[in-house]
Symmetry: C2
């Protein structure tokens, strides 16, 4: 049997989020990224979603390490949950390590975890793999792509990236190294597809700094800027613009404060002298000397900006004389919540600057022309589009074909699909590994399943009706009229008749069950009869289908 290299995406395909990919060669495995996803609207009560890693658990003795491209939640968010089941060393750059450490501390995993920092440009051995860290540009500092070297050949895994010719940290993505790899021969390219629907180039992060300068200059108002906390370079540009305009800056919002702390401690943020002040001190200054940097760019209900807008923030009251700059675009699905906050800011009399057209935000992902450059430089034999919904994977596939790649050399997989590469061919194996969504809810991981979710949906939409039937153990006689309790359904006060009717319907249904001579009436039969009678009565009379829960109590 020919030697095989396997690529197994465990998350990030047909979705945005929970990125995770396993590479398997010579009996050994390395894992790239370990992200979480935000729950969909139909995932009632779920805090976050993580990948199903049962394949990795089953094969944990063969795993040689977890490699992290960068510190966004959709690449590191599942680490604590997965580490509790699989102890593996984590390799990442210094800033990413700083963020992962916060998570490990929160979950008491610092001692048990080997966290190894690797500089961009360096390589690391992990069993039969040698993993080379290659600097890329992205909306968070210290992001890398990987060149995964094996005896069979080299895989380039881009992670999230863009090509920024004027990045804030001065370090342009290492195109030269990608070009060298292309000349040496790349077996397979696994690349980010997030922005493949967009033509052209993603603008440089620097253009947002120019916008800040325009907005800060000749402005008499207090300025409040919100953006993603993890976008260190964006915050850096706020600080720089403030310093240049003689304004002081205060930071508020837990994740923004955490991020500031980590990034300044590790040297990724350079705070201009005498610029940062406590928020209570800031208030003493004239309006045109104030800047507040805050969380809440997605309209999150508990965020600082939300609380400011709805007047529940302890230190900041918004009103006329404030200019709020939203330096972010709404993540798909968040449009409504973001809109709600903007409306409230307007209502308070603030000037709100939020239009995407104004270059208040740029993406961290490569558009079509950037992707083409990466394909052209790496000249891979095979290609696997990663990170994206189905349409993005398909369009990325089309883009590769336009550049001359054979369709047979491209694999569009599902999560859990096994892509097998021999030196000469690539195919999607007929066998897949378990993959899917594991729900994290409260302190529970994975114990909320499909049945529970279906019940929650039902309860949410129509509420529920409990029918308690006290039955004599002896002869199965009904000891008293059934008690009816409703929640999330019409209230007794408003419809007393319906409740009375339901009692009768339940009693009649119970009476209709005769049962066997031996044991009297069977609980299951009783429940079934009552449930069915009450449900159909309810639907007929209210056009609603609450969950009906018959409870038989034997006494």
């Amino acid at each position: 049997m020919a030697e095989k290299l396997k690529i197994i995406p465990l998350g990030g395909l047909n979705e945005i989020g929970k990125n995770m990919t396993a590479y398997e060669y010579g009996g050994e495995i390395i894992v790239v990224d370990c992200g979480m996803a935000f729950p969909g609207d139909d995932m009632y009560g779920i805090d976050c979603v993580i990948p199903d890693v049962s394949y990795l658990i089953k094969n944990k003795s063969r795993i040689r390490g977890l490699f992290i491209t960068h510190g966004h939640e959709d690449h590191i968010g599942a680490i604590p949950y997965v580490l509790k089941q699989i102890n593996m060393p984590i390799y990442c750059t210094r800033f990413t390590a700083g963020l992962i450490k916060l998570k490990l501390e929160e979950h008491q995993l610092v001692k048990s975890t080997k966290l190894i920092t690797v500089e961009a440009g360096k390589s690391v051995r992990a069993g039969k793999f040698t993993v080379e860290f290659i600097h890329v540009n992205h909306s968070i500092a210290d992001s890398v792509a990987f060149a995964i070297h094996t005896k069979m050949g080299t895989i380039v895994h881009t992670g999230d990236f863009k090509i920024d010719s004027t990045p804030i940290d001065g370090e342009v993505i290492d195109l030269a190294r990608l070009g060298e790899l292309g000349k040496e021969g790349v077996l397979c390219l696994c690349a980010d597809s997030t922005n493949v629907e967009r033509p052209g180039f993603t603008p440089s992060e620097k253009v947002v700094g120019a916008t800040f300068m325009r907005q800060f200059q000749n402005c008499d108002e207090r300025i409040i800027v919100t953006t993603f906390a993890s976008n260190v370079h964006r915050v850096q540009q706020v600080l720089d613009a403030a310093a240049q305009c003689g304004r002081k800056v205060a930071v508020t919002g837990r994740s923004m404060e955490n991020m500031m702390k980590v990034s300044t401690e590790l040297g990724y943020m350079k705070v201009p002298k005498n610029t940062l002040v406590d928020i209570n001190k800031l208030k003493g200054l004239p309006k045109n000397k104030q800047v507040i940097v805050t969380t809440g760019s997605q309209g999150e209900e508990m965020s600082a900006l939300y609380r400011m807008a709805f007047s529940t923030h302890k230190q900041v009251e918004i009103g006329a004389g404030d200019k709020v700059i939203l330096s972010a675009s709404a993540v798909p699905g968040n449009e409504v919540t973001v809109g709600r906050v903007i409306n409230e800011l307007f209502r308070k009399g603030a000037t709100v600057v939020y239009d995407r057209a104004d270059m208040l935000h740029v993406s961290g992902h490569a558009c079509q022309e950037e992707l083409k450059i990466i394909h052209a430089l790496t000249k891979p034999r095979f290609f696997v589009p990663l990170h994206g919904e189905q349409r993005m994977l398909q369009i990325h596939c089309q883009l590769a074909q336009q550049m001359g790649m054979d369709r047979n050399h491209i694999a569009i997989a599902d999560n859990g699909g096994v892509i097998e590469i021999t030196g000469k061919s690539m195919k999607l194996s007929a066998n897949s590994v378990p993959a899917g969504e594991v729900y994290v809810d409260g302190s529970g991981v994975g114990d909320v399943g499909a049945v529970v979710m279906r019940d929650r949906k039902r309860l949410a939409e129509d509420g529920m009706v409990v029918v308690v039937l006290p039955i004599a153990t002896q002869d199965g006689a009904l000891l008293s009229p059934p008690e009816i309790i409703t929640r999330g359904f019409i209230y007794v006060k408003e419809s007393g008749d319906l409740m009375k009717e339901l009692q009768n319907v339940a009693m009649n249904a119970a009476d209709s069950v005769t049962g066997s001579r031996k044991r009297g009436r069977d609980d299951g039969e009783l429940r079934g009869a009552v449930k069915s009678a009450v449900s159909s009565y309810l639907f007929k009379n209210t056009k609603r289908s609450p969950m009906v829960i018959p409870v038989v109590t034997r006494l």
Copy 2:
């Protein structure tokens, strides 16, 4: 006391949808529009939302008529629900009447309702009001604005509109009449604010026809077009493009079929000869002779396009050789569902044309430059921005000020606010009338209140735990261990211990209630003790807060 004209918006402010405005003068009332809104994500189980019309019910003897600007659901959707409480004559144009009639039939209201059609250009007397119908352009046929004439002066109520210089029906918005009214003197302008955030002009409907031609020509694929069913002119352009390219058209999806029927019967749609065929006949033709027009542009789960994408449509199977054109943009909040359908179409191998940049869709609402023209023509003394979220109302207010209007002559109201105009001044009254959201759920209108909604949210997020306590009526002794039933919560199978523990916790809590000597233990006290003990035990052990429902059964 000076004579007053009152403007009372009952819906459409601080929201998109359920538009409704009352005008009151000389003791008489007319109502403009009667729309519904789609429920928000947090309105569990709600079918639609309608305005609170209790003010109108209280004053129904003073109402002289309901005037409808056009036939979109957010302007006519609440009619049947409101008519059941207030019998008033409805005045509207012929096409709008056709759509309202469908609703009246569905609700058995045809006989009891006076539905009067009025042509654009004509006027109608209603008590002390004379209402003039003025033709406007919009994304549905036969839309009008109203000039509401009273002895105190004239109010121009635009309704939804845009300025389309090349409309499909050939009738440009009646700018001349608006200009005349301006010269005669307009007391107050009440205008649509939906697109006020957008600079420039909304493109003409005709540009979409050009896109269709580009997409249909030299295309070997079967073409499937989806758009809003009510956009008669859009569908007309599909028919025209198909006819010009020698393709036949079949229509599928209930609302699209209904709309085709009404619009052809009333003469608002002109089907080119030999173009329309049954969908089963269409299938016999070569791919490049086929066009299907269908519903589902918002990714709605039961729509025809959704069923085609997910292979549950009876007649149409999507695959390679199909080109699907989405001639619509996602309504805010629908981005995710629309994305889901697009992904599935890609997965099936179809070509999908969905980019907004390609002029596949144009809005039906006026952008900034169009709004300015209306302000310039009508030259109103006072101005009330209608139809829009807070930010849109504020920006529309700024726009009017930029055109020289005094801020004191502009009123930004909330639903239920009462705007009082005397000849010389306008003010927002200190008293407002009831206004808000009435939920329609199943066959119930208004009987789902805030408590029910809160319960549903709780049930949705954490599920529920029922604890049944059978108690002896005599001495209040627990007759058997409490029964625990859960739904939407962790299942017994997965966590048998927790259930056992809960039984003990409930029993101990019940035992701790001693009660008075006279009556034994009180049910309320028992329920309280059990609820509190079980809830805190659950939160401590699972970090979840399911709804705990203690049921005391006395036997």
